[in-house]
Amino acid sequence: MNSKQKKNLTRILVAAALVILLRFLPVSGWLRFILYIAVYLIIGYDILVKAFKGIKNRQPLDECLLMTIATLGAIGLAVYKKNGDYNEAIAVMLFYQIGEWFQSYAVGKSRRNISDLMDIAPDYANVEGENGQLEKVDPDDVEPGTIIVVQPGERIPIDGIVTEGSSSLDTAALTGESVPRDVKAGQEVMSGCINLSGVLRIETTKEFGESTASRVLELIEDASSRKSRSENFISKFARVYTPVVVGSAAALAVLPPLALMLIRREPLWGEWIYRALTFLVISCPCALVVSIPLSFFAGIGCASRNGVLVKGSNFLEILSQTKTVVFDKTGTLTKGVFEVAAVHPDRLDEEELLHMAAHVERYSTHPIAVSLREAYPNEADDCIVETVEEIAGLGVVAKVNGRMIAVGNGKLMDRVGAKWHNCHLGGTILHVAIDGEYEGHIVISDVIKQNSKEAVTELKKNGVSDIVMLTGDTKETAEAVASELGIGSVYSNLLPADKVRKVEELINGKKSENDKVAFVGDGINDAPVLSRADIGIAMGAMGSDAAIEAADIVLMDDDPLKISTAVRISRKCLRIVHENIWFAIGVKILCLVLGALGIANMWAAIFADVGVMVIAVLNAIRCMFLKKN
């Protein structure tokens, strides 16, 4: 609680105690009036002051002014009717203040909760002084290339490369991953991780402001200024709501009595003015206005705790309406790393075929060559490899132990005169011929990520009806991956420009305006597609500036399962937002109707108004939590 909140709480308690005390004091007449006015001033003086300033600044619809008119009006009526019931005015002020206090407390608390959560950028860095002592400096002053020291328990302030020491890192704040990651000298580390065990010396590679932690923080802080449609709707509604209520209050005070006079009945001025004052009590749209941004803020906070960066409230809203998720294959559903999946020799044994092929690829840095050498780790043996010739677009030919070996695609086989046949498996097929004789082939394919299948299933379970896969790979490869993951629609052989066109087709072909299309890519070469889709999700994007720039939602790690987590968070958040909108507007309208009919008095009105706000705020805070499934 800050000092303002403490002061207001004291005022609320004192006023409440005095109201109860006054009930049992046998005072009447002027003394009673003065005592009650004193309590009224204790609880409401700041509102009276603000109301006065509102008049001075010509803000007739200032809520303090309206509250003042309502309560002073109620006191005036009590004097006029000579019933001495001043409690009502005091109660209105009291409840109003309780509502304001609660709102300020709850908002402050969730603000702190979420900023603690995002407290990932330390405000110092340890630099070694001349005599080996550590010196704490402002991380902004650390130049790239400086050696910083991170002790156990400290957060890494700046991105860099470990030069000395080994340790395990808690990356939870960035990726939501709870298993610590081991690092040793030579590895890259990200700022924002907590060093758990050993002392690390890190050579910084970036400036503080450009480091991961600072950038992430900046993104989240910016997120709430990109407002969602719901927020814009509410602020528009708030702008109209107050004038409409005040206008109808004025009409209610004047028209019915005049009508009654016309039909020669008693006008009952007091009664109608009282009903009009009841309107003013509920003229503040605060319950609505506070709960909506609070929900989004809490939702974005919850997402970032789970390793999902949402760049704006609007994106959370769009994500919740997503019916179609389009995946890029390589690097998203698959690891983007090639591995030997199968070896199909015609005559030799598997080992020997791999052996020969690996030798031919000895000097190549192509990812396929690397995967071959990895599959045959003893490649550096005493076989003689000579006259290696790479033939662009076909493969490699080399002499191994005096025999001419060709490794490559079907065209290369035709060229060396080997009779080859295709494979039933999807993936990249490497044919091998020795001295012009076909010896079989090796299947190399991209490895599917561990969680990809579950990610697809989870998305379907969470209301995403269409899952589409796009890839630049061949049809066979694409279909093999898709059928393993349970994805129905696949488009293969696509160039980057084709992917944009395909996503456009999907956007144009959807059934209703409110069904959104999300695209998930690795963010490296997908930038145009990421920005074309209704919502672009980049994954594994830590450190890739282009991806963070182009995407609307950034997954901190490589796990495709996080997409369904994000969808779940967004759905829950939007459900709560809608609950609050309908609930708050509903209760307000109900109060207005009952007030106009004279069923609800001022007590009921203020009680309902404050009650709605408390419930709406508590409901909004639920966005911060996500059930584990």
């Binding site: 908002v107 200024s225 206005v289 506070v290």
Partner: protein, 72 residues
């Protein structure tokens, strides 16, 4: 040009009023106020004098909501 300012305000509706007031100020192209992060993001018109525009924004905000502050 865009700039971000820290603000202080108590109620969400007041934050909306500030946003409206800031947007109406001459020299401001667009302004957004985030009640949750207590920040005001202002995009200025081409060639506007940032300091004097912000003084004006502050004055206008004070008019609609007396109990607010923009830290310039």
């Amino acid at each position: 040009m865009k700039k971000t300012y820290k603000i202080d305000v108590d109620c969400a509706n007041c934050a909306n009023k500030m946003e409206e007031a800031a947007n109406k100020t001459a020299g401001v192209k667009s302004a957004t106020v985030s009640f949750m992060t207590l920040k005001m993001k202002v995009e200025f018109e081409e060639g506007a004098d940032v300091d004097s525009v912000m003084q004006e924004v502050r004055k206008n905000c004070k008019k609609v909501e007396d109990d607010c502050e923009i830290f310039l």
